[in-house]
């Protein structure tokens, strides 16, 4: 019997037992649906995190005080990094691979304009900040090196801050804000960036570090973080070495006891995406268990089906079906059932992927290769679940099969 006929026969057998076929594939249906959705959610989360991090620029090193890892805490209250450290890193003799350095002093501050008052974070930094953090301006300009040298009272506002204080971005430029007792001129407003975790990238005040140090932070030279940018990603590890060596030397420390940590955004991204991948794998594994259970279900029903159809098998054999024809018939039937369940599962997975982002605000990325793999896995489950029942059917002696009442 050729394959087309075998397939047709299997299809007919499934169609003639619709309800049972549907129930048989329930396990695979749920399994494939959850695998599809889990992978989709994992991929979505990874994409979102990657997008956010890469928006910050992947050619970036983050130097933070304290010996711990920058992502997983370890920040000490006592800052060990200074403006002098940052200035040293700008020296091309010390660190030839570093393109730009942006030290950041950070403090919380109340800002007011007219009757409106707003509490936000003030960043004191260098003009390089704009390029280092890959930000751009919505209106006005950024402050200049000359303004840093002069400790000029100029600020650049985040989009949200500008909106809170002035009602619109355009209105903010050229106006003045009050911080403490001093007045500052608003020279520009940053383009919106979105939020990254709990910290809003759009609610901030940026000013020359000299201004911030003198007027808001009692003349401190401590910085909260130093951003180091390289021209190309390939220079990242070189820049890392240079920064590390220079800071160790200037702090008079050995490699065993650094008082700062350097992290690249790439490494943060790697960690985050490996965590997400791990979680996705774990959940996929759980969903895979339901696929396994589904496969056992198919095998079970196929065994019942063989027992029920002993007469049919006997008849087919009496009419000249070879054992292989019978085996193929039941094997193809099992594979079809499993594929059918897989297709239904994919449909549910895609449907859920379309609905869920609207419900919980998480993106779901369904990938075509993953779907094809899911279908392949269903077919494989069908083969594995079908082999034993099909072999049993093929081995039935025609007389035993015909005799059974």
């Amino acid at each position: 019997m050729n394959w087309a006929l075998t397939v047709a026969t299997a299809f007919e057998a499934i169609r003639s037992r619709r309800m049972r076929s549907l129930l048989t594939v329930l396990g695979i249906f749920i399994g494939i649906a959850s695998v599809t959705l889990t992978i989709g959610l994992g991929e979505g989360a990874k994409l979102e995190i990657t997008n956010r991090i890469s928006a910050l620029g992947s050619n970036l090193l983050v130097v933070m005080p304290g010996s711990g890892n920058a992502i997983f805490g370890g920040n000490t209250l006592r800052s060990t990094l200074t403006i002098e450290d940052a200035q040293m890193l700008t020296d091309s003799e010390v660190a030839p691979d570093i393109a730009a350095v942006a030290p950041i002093m950070m403090t919380s501050s109340a800002v007011s304009a007219g009757d409106y008052s707003w509490t936000t974070t003030a960043y004191g930094t260098s003009p390089q900040w704009l390029s280092v953090r890959a930000r751009s301006l919505a209106a006005g300009r950024f402050f200049t090196q000359m303004e840093v040298d002069d400790a000029a009272p100029v600020v650049v506002l985040g989009t949200n801050t500008a909106n809170e204080l002035f009602g619109s971005i355009e209105d903010a430029v050229g106006r003045a804000v009050l911080m403490g007792s001093a007045q500052y001129n608003v020279v520009g407003v940053l383009l919106t960036q979105g939020s990254m975790g709990l910290m809003s990238e759009d609610d901030l005040v940026v000013m020359p570090w000299t201004t911030q140090s003198q007027r808001l932070m009692n003349g401190t030279n401590k910085v909260a973080v130093i951003y180091v940018a390289v021209a190309t990603e390939g220079q990242l590890s070189q820049a890392y070495q240079e920064t590390y060596a220079a800071l160790l030397a200037s702090h008079g420390l050995t490699e065993e006891h650094p008082d700062f940590g350097i992290t690249s955004l790439q490494s943060i991204m790697d960690v985050v995406s490996s965590v997400t991948t791990l979680l996705t794998l774990l959940l996929t594994g759980l969903a895979g268990i339901s696929l396994l259970v589904g496969g056992v279900g198919v095998m079970n029903i196929m065994l019942v089906s063989v027992t029920e159809r002993v007469k049919e098998i006997g008849l087919r054999k009496a009419l000249g079906a070879r054992p292989s024809s019978i085996r193929n018939q039941f094997l193809v039937e099992a594979v079809f059932l499993a594929l059918f369940g897989g297709l239904l599962g994919l449909a549910l997975g895609y449907l859920a992927s379309a609905i869920i982002p609207g419900l919980i605000g998480l993106p779901v990325v369904v990938s075509v290769p993953a779907s094809l793999i899911a279908l392949g896995v269903s077919a494989l489950v069908g083969v594995v679940a079908g082999v034993y029942p099909a072999t049993r059917a093929a081995k039935l002696a025609p007389i035993d099969a015909l005799r059974s009442e």
Binding site: M1, A318, L319, G320, P323
Partner: protein
């Protein structure tokens, strides 16, 4: 007229080893059936006639002995070769019809051709022709559930015919039929015999057996009488008047055969000799 016999059995034994005891279902059966014969194999349940039928039909293989089907030794064949023999040389008709309920009559008849690898167009044409031979062409698109018992058995006969086999092997074909359908079926078999087909009919019913041209009696795994030889093969102890009846009926049957088969069924049913 004929060359080698269709069925040639020599000292066929079939032993089932049930563990505790060995059951001898057949104990040395010798049987020859020539092409074009219409043979009834009759015996009570447990006589071994079903086992004999299974071996003739290549559904089972003998434990010992030689069986030549169309001159070919089938004892040594493997599963696939037996499947091919069943497909090409044997046409089965069963007591329970054994039609697939999800397929219509035509597609049921097509089944053996499917396994023979015949293409769809030819399959359909041959199936329709076979259905026509059993007088059911207008029911070709009906499923078994929509047919009467007698019609279902006719479909089964068409299915047995469709591969143009050497033997039509009918196992209690009338066992599930009422008397009208029984006559109908026996008439059909006689008709096929008249067309030159070799028919082997397995039954426990003397009246049914009487329609055949030759009757072989099976008891306790042995052939106890064969009307072709006109005398019992073994000792006559437990043979009752069946033998003498058989002898008489054979004459009857032969007379009928000469006269034409159309009335054979009725005549046999009436249990009378028809003198023409």
């Amino acid at each position: 007229m004929s060359v080698a016999p269709v069925v040639q059995m020599q000292d066929i034994w079939k032993t089932y080893d049930t563990g505790a005891v060995e059951v001898h279902a057949l104990r040395g059966v010798d049987l020859e059936i020539a092409a074009g014969e219409y043979v009834a194999i009759i015996g009570p349940s447990g006589s071994g006639k079903s086992t004999l039928m299974h071996i003739i039909g290549c559904l089972d293989v003998p434990t010992a002995g030689e069986y030549l089907l169309d001159g070919e030794d089938v004892a040594e064949l493997n599963e696939n070769q037996l499947a091919e023999i069943r497909n090409k040389r044997i046409g089965f008709v069963f007591q329970q019809f054994h039609l697939l309920p999800s397929l219509d009559a035509r597609r049921n008849v097509e089944l053996p051709l499917v396994y023979a690898g015949v293409g769809a167009v030819e399959r359909s044409a041959r199936a329709l022709k076979a259905l026509e031979q059993v007088g059911l062409s207008e029911r070709a698109e009906h499923r078994p559930g929509e047919l009467s018992g007698g019609q279902q058995q006719r479909v089964a006969v068409a299915r047995a015919l469709v591969t143009n086999p050497s033997i039509i092997l009918a196992d209690e074909p009338t066992g599930n039929l009422d008397s009208v359908s029984t006559n109908d079926m026996l008439g059909l078999l006689s008709e096929l015999h008249a067309q030159g087909r070799t028919i082997i009919l397995i039954t426990h019913d003397q009246e049914v057996a009487d329609t055949a041209q030759r009757i072989v009696y099976v008891r306790d795994g042995q052939i106890t009488a064969d009307s072709a030889q006109n005398k019992p093969q073994n000792e006559v102890v437990h043979l009752d008047n069946a033998v003498s009846r058989a002898a008489g009926d054979v004459k009857t049957a032969e007379v009928i055969k000469v006269a034409g088969v159309a009335k054979a069924g009725k005549a046999a049913k009436a249990g009378k000799a028809v003198v023409l």
